[in-house]
Symmetry: C3
Amino acid sequence: MAPLTDPDLLFAPETRSLCRALYAGVKDLPIVSPHGHTDPRWYALNEPFPDPAQLLIVPDHYIFRMLFSQGVRLEELGVPTLDFPTLNGAPVETDGRTIWRRFAEHYYLFRGTPTRLWLDHVFEHLFGIGEPLNPVTADRHYDTIATLLQRDDYRPRALFDRFNIEVIATTEGALDDLKWHRAIRDSGWNGRVVTAYRPDAVVDPDFEGFPANLDRLGEITGCDTGTWEGYLDAHRKRRAYFKEFGATSSDHGHPTAETANLSEAAAGELFNRIRHGSDDERERRLFRAQMLTEMAKMSRDDGLVMQIHPGSWRNHSPAIFQKFGRDKGFDIPTRTDYVTALKPLLDCVGLERDLTIILFTLDETSYARELAPLAGVYPALKLGPAWWFHDSPEGMRRFREMTTETAGFYNTVGFNDDTRAFPSIPARHDIARRVDCAFLARLVAEHRLREEEAHELARELAYTLAKKAYRL
Amino acid sequence: MAPLTDPDLLFAPETRSLCRALYAGVKDLPIVSPHGHTDPRWYALNEPFPDPAQLLIVPDHYIFRMLFSQGVRLEELGVPTLDFPTLNGAPVETDGRTIWRRFAEHYYLFRGTPTRLWLDHVFEHLFGIGEPLNPVTADRHYDTIATLLQRDDYRPRALFDRFNIEVIATTEGALDDLKWHRAIRDSGWNGRVVTAYRPDAVVDPDFEGFPANLDRLGEITGCDTGTWEGYLDAHRKRRAYFKEFGATSSDHGHPTAETANLSEAAAGELFNRIRHGSDDERERRLFRAQMLTEMAKMSRDDGLVMQIHPGSWRNHSPAIFQKFGRDKGFDIPTRTDYVTALKPLLDCVGLERDLTIILFTLDETSYARELAPLAGVYPALKLGPAWWFHDSPEGMRRFREMTTETAGFYNTVGFNDDTRAFPSIPARHDIARRVDCAFLARLVAEHRLREEEAHELARELAYTLAKKAYRL
Amino acid sequence: MAPLTDPDLLFAPETRSLCRALYAGVKDLPIVSPHGHTDPRWYALNEPFPDPAQLLIVPDHYIFRMLFSQGVRLEELGVPTLDFPTLNGAPVETDGRTIWRRFAEHYYLFRGTPTRLWLDHVFEHLFGIGEPLNPVTADRHYDTIATLLQRDDYRPRALFDRFNIEVIATTEGALDDLKWHRAIRDSGWNGRVVTAYRPDAVVDPDFEGFPANLDRLGEITGCDTGTWEGYLDAHRKRRAYFKEFGATSSDHGHPTAETANLSEAAAGELFNRIRHGSDDERERRLFRAQMLTEMAKMSRDDGLVMQIHPGSWRNHSPAIFQKFGRDKGFDIPTRTDYVTALKPLLDCVGLERDLTIILFTLDETSYARELAPLAGVYPALKLGPAWWFHDSPEGMRRFREMTTETAGFYNTVGFNDDTRAFPSIPARHDIARRVDCAFLARLVAEHRLREEEAHELARELAYTLAKKAYRL
């Protein structure tokens, strides 16, 4: 039987030997994971992971959204309702094996998706499984994984080493006390886990609990978040605090890429209105827009790399949001403009050569039309890798095809896995490396690049560019 | 000389043997044609088709738009003017052979287009022609086809059997009496021809004769279409009537995907204003939007699969519209939003697991950005195949490349030919099957899919998914 | 060592022999360059070109934008500031060799870009250089090129002949006296250099010096540009004057594709307001829109082919614009609508069979959705080749993949190089021919086209279509 993950995975037959040669040079490079959502608690406590379903199914919105789309209820997959365990409504499944079997029954739905590639990779390379998952093999998979998860060499720190992770960034909100990061540091463990500054909850007036969040920000920092100056100072203090725990970047998940560059006075007045609870949608938008520019200016000053992740309509279904909360697979991409939206920010700091702003998109139409032309000229801009729904073989290939000719490779920043699925990290990096090698092999095969250049680039894309861009 | 349609048509050289193997498993599957525009009268009367030009050229807007773009007048191709035969303006050509010769002279214009593939397929497989069409061979083609069309085994029902059609859907307006469908049923013929409910003329206030159409709808159903309740009841009655003639779906060709979900009272008031001829463009748009949601609610109740075909700017040239009427090749795609537009409808019925809404688009930018993410999570949504201008090898390939990774194969609904060109139906299905086999072969060649899965998927895409999605 | 430009450049390995065969039939065809920005002074005076840096680096915004994006200052690359040589700010580098070395250090940034392919092609084919450019070889390259540029057979006219240019168009503003074109004509040289009419400075109220430009237009033509009629007459006279110097086309670089078709009276009133300096942004937009239609009507009358180049946000960075002026790599594409924007113009002249309007885009999403459907039906419309950032192997491939199936090949107009980089012209045409041959080879390999058709098409795309569409 063929292995779950063929050694030639993602290599086109017509350029296979070149793909293999390029890949051989990068497959064992350490993993640099500059942006993601793993839980620092794992590394701090180093406890065994829970059962296979709780580890691999319940928290993975790629997985349960697909099953939900085909009629499986989220409760049947163990996704907790907000009122859980009061069981108002259908009971939430808690038995790992039952959830696993349900998943296995529907695993065929993932044919042709990256989730399938990631999971098969994990099954084979992490858990040593050789047969495809289906209803017949479901229990054997479950038992194998459950058993291994109890072993010490499957605990988080052991996996961190096994995965050859050189450094990994987590993402914490501005109000987080970073206690798990402190615990990691205090533990004497030598794994490098850094945080990143994500201030959405205190810069977005539409965020749940925004006023209370600002109060809390004031308490934590001792700054008067009732004034614009105090509010900005509070950010500066938190950024400095995050830097103490290794942060080299901030992260901004706005609905759009809109920016503004108001005068000091106008910005202060806007803050006052927002602070007093303005429900004018334009003002709230303008405040978010202004805050991107403020964050960029702080990045210019303190050196944090700024990441902008716009264009997701969060919680598109109110019924699901009310019942299950955030991050349930109902975040849908929207058309996103950059050329107009970023102009105020770029007019302010776009020509800075020591500032790095990394742009992501869920709207692939902006790759060739807007993002590559912008990143190909503004010194402050770089392009983040294909993101979220586009973090897939076809998505990554389109990213390269549509950005390279205008922005080159060196205005991109390598790969980041952006995941909370810790066991899948090697799979994700492996697949990204394979896709890039295949892209480079195609360029060589068509004599658009020399082979020695492709070898050099393969290393840059797999390792060096991420380290350099994120200052890690 | 090479055949007009090579046995390896559309198979990439680098995956050819795999393409052949996959295709061998699907090429003889019956045709399920769940959406199209053939004329039920053909099956009812079973008369011989007219001359080659009247059959293949005059009604095919793909063909005459291309010749028109290169300076040939529509009259020269036999396209009737609205005042025909008064000959106000240039005379309309009526001689089939003259039209055919003119077409043959310009056949080179279709190089690289799907029309060329379809026609060569028809010439070879239906009419046994082995030489390319050009000015020299034009008369021989014409004679061969004209002669065959007179034979009994080239009449509609014989072709239906020869084409191995298991079921075909036509599309009729809400006011249609379905007399040809009744005649088919009464004839005792065993071919399965079903209708589909297309209510544009009675839900779109901008449709020609809208007020009279509503009056007529009232007469036919005995409902009071002067009231909102009566109007909705009339729809329910017509839907039930269409179901008697096999309908399993409705079809909605709106300018945009905009939906609304007004309160009962507000919807009733809106209807009153529309019924009294409101010329407020926003109200007319809102009414169309509300009606999509009403139709979705009826589909939830009566089980008709709902098809939404938005985004065509109909009759872009007023001069052509005035002279020749609708469907003259001047329908132009427009940028189409789904994420915002569909939200009211989705908030209402999007989570229903027994409802099927099939979305089509003419704006390929929505595939990966909007449609695949939506269909990959909302149980009520499925993706229709690449449509109209995109029903072509590159178009179908882009559809798979941009939807599969997020929505999977199982949130798509197989192929539909959407054609009024009856003789081209086998060609269209054959080409779709070939493109899908080539796509699957590429996945297998890159080890993204196992070969046995590809065989299974080839059958699903060619046959099973269409039957299942359309409940046929 | 491999040559800088492999004989199989851009040929896919799986269709290589077919690519070679097709390319053999077109590689030596004369160059028809119907649209570009070379300086007619070169051909008039036939002086030697300046040093390698001044020839190849300083004027090429593709090059300096990339280096600027990576932190190199424009002054370091010799790009003159507007106040040069007053040296307000950093001094501008004037030493060619220093600039060249700086460029060579950063040449790796261009991996995967068309600039790299063009330059390597020039190095090898024009200057006989066999080794890659890098810091070690920089001086040798420089010396080789500098030496050759002093030779008589490297002067403009000699290169014109060596490049096998059959005809080349330059682009001049409406106020240009065409003295260099006159000098060329008077010189008795047999090279065919024609002009093109570019009236942006006198049709766009936002253009620098617009009112003075209109005054000047009046002086030159003897028309009263204080009145609408006189203003239009002035255009007619200038167009006639440009035709005397070989012009067969006009060129229009508007921010959008917006058109208008006002009544004679309304247009006249609008002109009056604009002439008196209206600062109403809507009026200024409307005037630009109206002028596209006016130019189209004049084209209908005088036979000049009309080119519309919309969708570039010029001078996106005000800081760069103020310091360095126009054309410094800060022109960024924007989302561009055609279906709505062009309707007034198309309603007016879109059905004209003797008019040719060539549409370009920087927004690739419009290829399949809008441009191919429009050009595939309106007799007056043709599609210009992939433009600017998209004038690249992937960009040209996407153009063919997304336009051919709906518009066919014959509603496109071949290649134009659009360049001011004279030495790169053969490279650009060679690469375009290779990309087209590779595209055709793929069609043949998949049996979508017969081989003899591909040979014919290769010639059309490389040579015939451009001559025909531009009436050259």
